[in-house]
Amino acid sequence: MKVPVGSSCLKDLRMSPLLWIHVSLACGSTCPWSVGPHVPGLCLCRYVKEGDKVSQFDSICEVQSDKASVTITSRYDGVIRKLYYDVDATALVGKPLVDIETEASDVVETPAMAREEHTHQEIKGHKTQATPAVRRLAMENNIKLSEVVGSGKDGRILKEDILNFLSKQTGAILPPAPFQDIRTPPTAPPPSAAPSPPAPVFTGKDRMEPLKGFHRAMVKTMTAALQIPHFGYCDEVDLSQLVQLRSDLKSTSEGRGVKLSYMPFFIKAASLGLLHFPILNASVDEGCQNITYKASHNVGVAMDTSQGLLVPNVKNVQLLSVFDIAQELNRLQTLGAAGQLGAADLSGGTFTLSNIGSIGGTYAKPVILPPEVAIGALGKIQVLPRFDPSGQVVRAHIMAVSWSADHRIIDGATMCRFSNLWKDYLENPARMVLDLK
């Protein structure tokens, strides 16, 4: 029968779950699942969508029935033209699942509910059973079906049998096994690579996506934040003594299971300063009618996480030791890294420090996070030449700090005096010990 080249016909090749099970399993009397009256249907999840090209044996969908999870594969090469069920729907046993359009190089009449879904053909007195797709593959590779041993039911020839036959003939590599990542075991473990920035992907097209969730909240909050009249104040701090102190204390802290960075010292020094300048730990209401002096020093620490900028805070720093703060920071950092920070840790902050220097940078212009009135950004610690009291050039560990404050209630002099006090504690850590509460 002549078929115009290039035409395709939509066959009524319906794949019914019941039919599929029956044909593919070939298990004689025992059917693996009882699709009787007590199992009305199957629950569905899907790998393909309409318009997708599929080959024979590609996975179409996954269904569940009677405690078994089954992957249903395509019997044909072709294009998915219609899906009868949505994801998560319950499919009815005996009803069609999907329509597949195949190319009509040989036209096959297949009634919808036929038990035998293959054609057979007499070759030299033998009945050779194979689907149209398998038949075409054999033809394209000049293989006589009579020479191929079929491993399917009743000696039916499957696609794999053709491919096996080919590989034996030509020594060609077999098509990839279902699990494609098998390699011969490495003789030495590969060296662990340093974390590299994600490779940029260039698609050449603009991409638009709506702002959702957390990013939407950030837009709102940052817009409001910049309504606050900010002023900035910057300075540099000589941390040489603190560097020495931390180095001395690091092993003790690690002995107690806590990693000690510089942040706990910065946070505690800020709290000691806030005791003298409580206006920096305050909040104003929306109309700027009332100012609330907050009793607790809940110092927020800006963290760069996979979700973006998050600012969990350490509660009641005025009651904590440097070690306590370090411990709490460890806990928050672990949760932040796992994306598991809760609302309790993320709200209630009264003052914020942002250690942008841990990534890089010196001076910054931080944005105040409402409902707070002040924020400090810390640059990276650099070893720079400075003059000591006797006029000699020495190595000094210098860090820049950039403060921003709400100019409606805070003036430059207040910010400057707070910064000087904070700086004094860090440049002379022994004085912190004197004033520790």
């Binding site: 399993l25 999840c45 992957t71 959702k212 609302a343």
Partner: protein, 368 residues
Amino acid sequence: MMSNVRRMVSLFKGVCRTRTCPVHTWTSGAGLVLQSRSTDVFQNLALEDWIEANVDLRQRGVLLLWRNRPAVVIGRHQNPWTECDLQAATKAGIHVARRRSGGGTVFHDLGNLNLTFFTSKKNYDRRRNLKMITDALRRVRPELDVQATDRLDIVLNGHLKISGTASRLRRDSSYHHCTLLHSADRSALSAVLRPSTSGIHSNATPSVPSPVANLVDHAPTLQWEELLEALVDQYNEEFGCTSALTSIDPSDEASFPGIGLFVSELSSWEWTFGKTPKFSVRTVLDLSEHRSAQLHLEVKNGLVASCQVLVPPDWIPQSLADQLSQVLVGERFCRHGAAAAAVSTLLRLDGTGGRLEELSKAVLRAMG
């Protein structure tokens, strides 16, 4: 490490269907009995995937024996929020895992033995496997009244469940796995096997609760090793093979190349939570001063697809409640992480004297 590799290769020789290993013909009825040394639920589930993907099951079957440190294992099409109290599980250090096979939720611990029967699709026969188990039990303790039921459970004394079944079928292969309660901690079980939050409506596979029992409750002298030995002997007898119990380590990437990828996938959020069939949450949130709000969430692929919070009009403006709803859309259905961050960020602008904060925290609590 190299000796392990040689051992693995010889173990699976002729049985691998990779490019490098040729397929031999084995005498029919040959079997292989393996015992996993790992007690990590993700590694053991990954081992099942690895065996299914890499071992040629057409001529011989494999029996894998394994057990896990405390973990909740939900079925492929289940909803972890309805099956398990996730906060309680995290607090107790209990992992939550989704397996590939269907069926209901199981609590795993070191007193719960898992058996996985790997066969070709042709030889898939769950009743035969369960018969093997009941025969083994009767052999070591003839006084035990154990029966397999129509639902493919094994019950003791007619009504106490000691085993549940699930399975997975693919193009060429299948596996049937089941549990066997030897000496599980039933109190830990009841503490976590309850919903995380109320008001969930879903058509995910529900779990059918049944009264359970441990084998040791009715046969106190039955040791773990004795049970394993009986099962191995019975397997060999039933399937006509002579395999000894071989111990394997699924964390050894050299012996099981590529198993690490299976482990990462099985332990990922996208698999465990993202594969949940869509569901909705409808509940009433209790607020102070005897007020309440109505919450309606739709969750798809574990993410909030839509959210509506209806508040009493004199309590806070509905527009504020709508802002709260909007920042939750697109984030994971989880009270921590991005949803918490979104809510906390929005709360910075709270001018309601704490009411928006109260509402926000109530909404987050309803989110698993």
